[in-house]
Symmetry: D2
C-alpha cells in the first residue's frame, strides 16, 4: 500500500465545460501541471474540487482521469464525502475501483452524531475498504470539531493513516502532533494562509486550495520549512497571503465557495492550464470586473 509522506498535496479543482460537464482535457492538463510542479500528491474530490456538487459519476470519472495522469508517480487521494457511514462506504468502494491510493473522510454531517460514534464511523470505513484512511477535520462544513482524543485513539489502532486539518485550530493540531507517533499518523494543514505555522509546529504536509494556481509557491514554502529556513518560509507565505486575497473578489454578492472556487478556476484559465472557469450550480459565476480582479492578483504575484 502506498505511504502518505507529507509534502504539498493540492486539492485539485474540477474543470467543467460551459454545459457543466467534466472537462477531461482540462483536468488532465491540470493534473500534469501540478505533478510537473513537484507536488507530492493530488487530492481529488475535496471541497475545492466541488465534491459536494458533483454527481457520483462525475466524482469517479474525475478520479480516474487524475489517477491516469498520475500513473503511480504520486499518490492520489480521494475525498469520499457524504453524510454518514453507509453512504461514505459506498464512495470508498467506488473510489478504490477508480484508482484512489488513499481515502479522505469527514465525520458524519447532517445527521447529529455524538463524538462517541465517530470511532465506529472511521473503523467501519477502514474495515470495508483496504486503503489508507485520512480523517478530514472541517468543522465549518460538518458542524463538529473532530476531538483530539478520537484522532489519537484511531492513530494508535491503525485506523487512520493521516489527518487533514482544515479546522483552523492550530492549538488542536499541535495537541495531535504532540500525542501521536509521526510514523503512524501524518498531519496535513489545510490552511493556505498559515501554512508556515502548520509546518513550524511539525505538520508533515499542506493541502492548499490555491496551490492549484501557484503550486511552485507552496513548494518553496514547504522546502524552506523543511530546512528550518523560517525567514524564507515566512516571506513566501506573505506573498501567498496577498495572492489568496483573490478569494474575496466576489464579496459580498455571493457565497464563499462561489467566490473562491470561481477565482481559483479563473486563475487557472489565466495561466493557460484549463479551458474555462465554469462552476457548479447554484454557485454564482464571477462577472467581468471580478474576473479582471483575479487576473490583477495573479499579475501582482508574478504569475502571469
Amino acid at each position: 500500500m502506498i505511504q502518505l509522506d507529507g509534502g504539498v498535496v493540492p486539492p485539485v479543482c474540477t474543470p467543467l465545460t460551459p454545459e457543466r460537464e467534466l472537462d477531461v482535457p482540462s483536468l488532465e492538463r491540470l493534473a500534469a501541471f501540478l505533478i510537473e510542479a513537484g507536488m507530492h500528491g493530488l487530492f481529488v474530490t475535496g471541497s475545492t474540487g466541488e465534491v459536494a456538487y458533483l454527481p457520483d459519476e462525475v466524482r469517479y470519472r474525475a478520479l480516474e482521469v487524475v489517477a491516469g495522469v498520475a500513473a503511480g508517480q504520486v499518490p492520489v487521494l480521494a475525498g469520499i464525502i457524504d453524510t454518514t457511514t453507509p453512504r461514505v462506504i459506498e464512495h470508498a468502494r467506488a473510489a478504490k475501483a477508480s484508482g484512489a491510493d488513499a481515502l479522505v473522510a469527514t465525520v458524519p454531517f447532517f445527521a447529529p452524531t455524538h463524538p462517541a460514534e465517530f470511532p465506529g464511523h472511521f473503523r467501519a470505513i477502514r474495515a470495508a475498504v483496504d486503503l489508507p484512511l485520512v480523517a478530514y477535520d472541517i468543522p465549518s462544513s460538518v458542524g463538529t470539531k473532530l476531538p483530539t482524543d478520537v484522532v489519537v485513539e484511531l492513530a494508535e489502532d491503525g485506523t487512520l493513516a493521516a489527518l487533514k486539518d482544515s479546522s483552523g485550530d492550530l492549538d488542536g493540531l499541535r495537541a495531535v502532533l504532540e500525542r501521536t507517533d509521526p510514523s503512524r499518523l501524518r498531519c496535513y494543514s489545510g490552511s493556505e494562509t498559515l501554512a508556515d505555522l502548520g509546518l513550524f509546529i511539525g505538520a508533515h504536509g499542506l493541502v492548499p486550495g490555491i496551490g492549484n494556481v501557484d503550486p511552485h509557491g507552496y513548494l518553496r514554502l514547504y522546502e524552506a520549512a523543511r530546512r528550518a529556513d523560517w525567514d524564507t518560509a515566512r516571506t513566501e507565505q506573505a506573498r501567498l497571503r496577498r495572492l489568496f486575497r483573490l478569494i474575496h473578489v466576489g464579496d459580498p454578492r455571493m457565497g464563499r465557495y462561489s467566490s473562491a472556487i470561481g477565482a481559483f478556476k479563473e486563475g487557472l484559465v489565466a495561466r493557460g492550464v484549463i479551458a474555462g472557469a465554469t462552476t457548479s450550480e447554484p454557485m454564482i459565476p464571477l462577472n467581468d470586473t471580478e474576473r479582471a480582479a483575479v487576473r490583477q492578483h495573479l499579475e501582482d504575484a508574478g504569475l502571469l
Copy 2:
C-alpha cells in the same frame, strides 16, 4: 399533479434487518399501519427515515415499497437530501421514477452557500423534475435558516408548493404564513412537541417523527385544532409531549438520532408493527435497559 393539502404526514421510519438491509415486509406493514390510522400523506426518506445513512439504492427501494402500499390513496413525499444542487437533482429524478408524488429538499449544506444562491438551487430542482417541491427548513442539520424572504419569493413564483418547518422558529413560520397565500404554499410543522402551536398560528399540517408510533394521537390533535377545539388539542399535545420524552432514553451515552430513532423503532416493535429495531451505522443501539424504558413510555401513554 397531486395536491398537498396539509394534515398529518409522518416521516416514515426505515425498518432494517439485523444485517442492516431494508426490511421490506416491515416497511409494508408500517406504511399500511399509518394509512389505516388516517394519515394524510407519507414522507419517505426524511431525517427520521435515516435518509442521511441510506445508500441510494436503499432510499429508492424504500420509496417504491411505500408508494406501492399507498397506491394513490395518500400522497408520498420523498426526501431528496444531498449536499447541493446537481446531486439533489439526481435524487429528484430517481425519486420520481420510484413513485414519489412530491419532493422535499433542503438548502445546500457542507458547501458554504449564500442565501442569494438559495433561489437558484430550488428553481433548478423544480425545473429539472416536474413534481411539487417542498422546502425543508432544518437549520440544526444544514447550519442555515431558510430566510422568510426566500420562501415568500419562491412561493409567489410557483417554485415551492410547501414548506416543512423543522427550525423550531415559530416566529419565522408565522411570518411565512402571514406573507404567503395558502392556496399557493402549504406549511407543515416538523415539531412533535409544539404541534398544537403550529396549527394555532395557521400551519396546514404536521410532520411528527413520533407519529410513526402514535399516529392516532396526532390525528386527534390535528382534528381538534381544525375545529378550533384548543382545549382538546392542548390536552392531546400534553400526552404526546410525555410520550416524546422516550427520545432521551439513550442520553448521554449516544447521539440524539441514535436515541430518538432507536426509540421510535423500538416503539414500533413493541406495537407489533415492525420486526426489529436495528438502526444504521454508526448509531449506537439501545441496550436492554433503554429498550425497557421505551416500552414503559408506551405503556404510560396507553399504547400497549
Copy 3:
C-alpha cells in the same frame, strides 16, 4: 413581600435628555402612562431600559423615579444585570434601597460559567437580599440557555419566584410550566410576537418591550387569553406583530438595539409621552426617514 402574579409587565424605557442624562419628567410620565393603561407591574432597568448602557447612578435614579410613581399600586421589578455573582449582589442591594419590589437576574456572562455553577449564583443573590428573585433567561445576550432542570430545582427550593423567558424557546418554557407548581413559580414570556402562544401554553404574564408604546394592545391580548378567547387574542397579536415591524426601521445600517430602542422611544415621543428619543452611546440614532417610518407604523396601528 409583594407577590408577583402575572399580567403585563412592560420593560420600561429609560428616557434620556439630548445630553444623555436621565429625563426624569419623561420617565415619570411614562410610568404613569403605563400604570393608567392597566399594566400589572413595571420592569425597570431591563434590556429595553438600556440597562447595559446605564451607569449605576442612572440605573438607581431611574428605579427610584418609577418606584415613586408606582407608590405601591403595582410591583416594580428591577433588572440587576451584571457579569457575575458579587457584582450582581451589589446591584441587588442598591435596587432594594432604591425601592424595588423584586429583582431580575441573568446567569453569569462574559466569564464562562458551567451550568453546575448557576444554582450557587442565584442562591447567593437570594441569600444576600430578601426580595423575590426572577431568573431572566436571555441566551442571545448571555450566550447560554438557562437549563430547565436548574429552573425546576430553584423553584422547588424557593430561590426563584418567577422566570422571565426571553429565549424564544417555547418548548423549554412549556417544560418549565409542566414541571413547576404555579403557586411557587410564575412564568413571564418576553416575546412581543408570540405572546399569545406563551399564554396558550400557560405562561402567567408578558414582558413586551413594545408594550411601552402600546400597553393597551397587550392588555387586550392578555385579557382575551385569560378568558380563553383565542380568536381575539390571535387577532390582537396579529395587529401587534405588524406594529412590531417598526424595530427594523434602522436595518441594516445599525444594530438591533439601536433600531428597536430608538423606535420604541420615537413611538413614545409621537404619542406625547416622553420628550425625546435620545439613546445611549454607542447606539446610532435614527435619521429623519427612519423616524417618519416609525410614525407611519404607529398610524397604521391606530395609535396616533
Copy 4:
C-alpha cells in the same frame, strides 16, 4: 504618556482571603514577584484577574495596590470591562484615578451591537480619558470578533495604541499586523499555548494567564523569539504547553474559569507567592485531589 512596547505582560491574578476579600499582602507579593521576574508590564483586572466577578471597589483597590508596587518601573494596564460605552467610561475614569498607565476595553457585550457601532465605542472611551487605549478581542466572552477593518481604522486615527488578541484567530492577527504600522499599534497575543506562533508572525508581546505561575518561562520564550532562535522558543513553548494542562484539573465538574483560575492560584500558593487559592462566587473551588494535581504539574515543570 507611557509607551506600550510589547514584551510579556501577564494578566495579574487577584488573590482573595478565605472571606473573599482582597488579599492585599498577597497581591503585593505577586506584583513584586512578576516585576522581579522581568515582566514588561502588568495587566490588572483582566479576565484572569476575575474582573467579571470583582465589585468596583475591589477592582480599583487591586489596581492601586499593583500600581503602588510597580511605582513606574513597568506600565500597569487596567481592564475596564463592562457591558457598553457609558459604563466602560466610568471604569476608565476610575482606573486612571487609581494609577493605570493604559486601559484595556472590549467591544460592547450583552447588548447586541453592530460592528458599525464599534468605532464610536472606542472613540468615546479614548475621548473621555487620556490614556493609551488597548482593544481587547475576546469573542469567547463577548460573542463577537473585532473586525480587522475596525482595528486598522482605529489604529490609523490614533484611537488605539494596542490590540490584545485573545481570539485564537492567528489569521486575523496576522492581517492586523500586515495592515498596521507597528509604531502606531502594538499587538499582544493572549494565547498561552501558541505564544511562539504569535511572536513568529510579528506580535510584539504576550499576555499569558499562566505567566502568573511561570513568568520566567514566558520571558525565555519571548527573548528567544526576539533573537529569532525558534528552536529554543518552540522547546520552551512545549514545556509551557505541558504545564498549561493544569487548567483542566477540574474538568468536567466545573466551568473553564473555575478550573483555570483555581489552578493558577493554587500554583501561586504552591510557589509561596500568595496565601490562599480562594476564587470568587459562583466558581466551584478545587478539591484536594485537584489541588494535588496542580502541584504535580508544577513539579513536572520544574517549578517546585
